[in-house]
Amino acid sequence: MLEAVALSCRRGERRLFQDLHLDVQPGSLLHVRGRNGSGKTTLLRTLCGLFTPETGEVRWRGKSIQSLGEDYRRELLYCGHLLGLKADLTAIENLAIASTLSSDPVRTHELWQALERLGLAGFEDLPIRMLSQGQKKRVALARLLLSHAPLWVLDEPFSALDREAVCLLEELLARHLGQGGLVILTTHQEVPLTSGRVAHLDLGY
């Protein structure tokens, strides 16, 4: 479903990886591992189309993501190191904007339910800047709950999460994979998954 063909990327003068091939099938999770600076984030951003590779191509459903453009982005959800939340807006406002922009708008009560399920009851209408780092991360993860995008690209999703949130995220990933979704993520801890296949990709060795 998502392939990368002869991908090579360069950051400044350093070549991060060369001739990288990928083929992620529906219902499977690709766990990208590697030391700091081995190009994990660059690879993820290349797969999303944020970074143009020096050579090689990323294909979704057989077609290059450049030619697909908006269609590819409709089926993609990216969570990077930065949470993508406006500090002055409340959690509800942030999620409402994210869902209108993702062109499959969600009714407001679903927003409240999602936040409640992520243990943010009572914090929904506070400006994000008043929340703790862990709570902000949960608001960002609420988008996983609301999104219908089959492809999830997550950069260090488990960072700054407490025990309970980690279990919740694992449950979300399992449910997504169960429905035939794809996940590409980087994390420094093992990913104990209940359903779906886990593949590993090691960079920089």
Binding site: A6, R10, R11, G12, E13, T52, E54, T55, G56, E57
Partner: protein, 252 residues
């Protein structure tokens, strides 16, 4: 993706080619410069133009006009390579644009300086808001903008592409700037007065000026290729072909 269409686009192949071309361009520059200066100073009448003829100071024309032309041509060449770089995503094209930019900026400065020293005897002031001088000044700012933006961004790749886009936007807006300076009052838009047409100028002067222009072209090629050679080396320092290049005996 298919290998790059044009073979010379690979820096490794282009570097030796540049090495061979540079001496040729220097010799051509030397010959043309000598011929142009000799002809300009010794084979030309002592004044230019019919009625209120310009005295000997008109000879600044042999440096001012070629420099002004080069400043404009090099900007267009810079934008061409910038566009090629953005479209084909080839790093050498961006290096080409970076190699040409400083020389273009220098010619713009030269055009302004020599223009001022020509203006003083013929118009009575070093600076006059004559549309041509003002446009040259604006072009100088565009060059400075390109160089400043490229230098300010650390990541080489983003610097190339950002500066390239700025150059393209600059080229799109330059005609509008030139036009708005030339006819600030749209109702009776003064035609671009003093269209300097070359035919009226006396033969020898014209010959000297064109020779000097050719000399400046050769100079631009030579300096751009030299700067390009250094840029390639700087950016491909780790590449294997650079190691062989440094000790042709091939390691121990």
């Amino acid at each position: 993706m298919a290998l790059n269409p044009f073979k010379f686009a690979a820096p490794a192949v282009f570097y030796p080619l540049a090495n061979r071309l540079i001496p040729w361009f220097w010799t051509l520059t030397g010959i043309l410069l000598a011929l142009g200066l000799y002809w300009g100073f010794f084979q030309t009448p002592d004044q230019l133009g019919g009625n209120n003829a310009q005295k000997e100071y008109y000879r600044i024309i042999f440096v001012h006009v070629p420099a002004a032309w080069m400043s404009m041509w090099l900007y267009v060449i810079m934008v061409f390579w910038a566009a090629v770089g953005l479209v084909f995503n080839t790093r050498l094209s961006f290096m080409m644009a970076n190699a040409v930019a400083p020389t273009g900026a220098i010619f713009t400065f030269l055009a302004l300086w020599t223009g001022a020293f020509w203006g003083r005897p013929s118009w009575g002031t070093y600076w006059d808001w004559d549309p041509r001088l003002t446009s040259e000044l604006v072009l100088f700012f565009l060059y400075l903008g390109y160089l400043a933006l490229h230098a300010a961004i650390d990541d080489q790749r983003r610097a190339d592409r950002a500066a390239a886009l700025l150059a393209i936007v600059g080229l799109v807006i330059v005609p509008v700037i030139y036009w708005s300076i030339n006819c600030p009052d749209p109702t009776q838009c003064a035609s671009l007065h003093q269209r300097s047409n070359l035919t009226r100028i006396e033969g020898n002067i014209l010959f000297a000026m064109l020779t000097m222009t050719l000399a400046f072209w050769m100079y631009s090629f030579a300096t751009s290729l030299m700067r390009l050679r250094t840029l390639i080396l700087e950016r491909e320092a780790e590449a294997s072909w650079v190691q062989e290049l440094l000790n042709p005996r091939g390691g121990r």
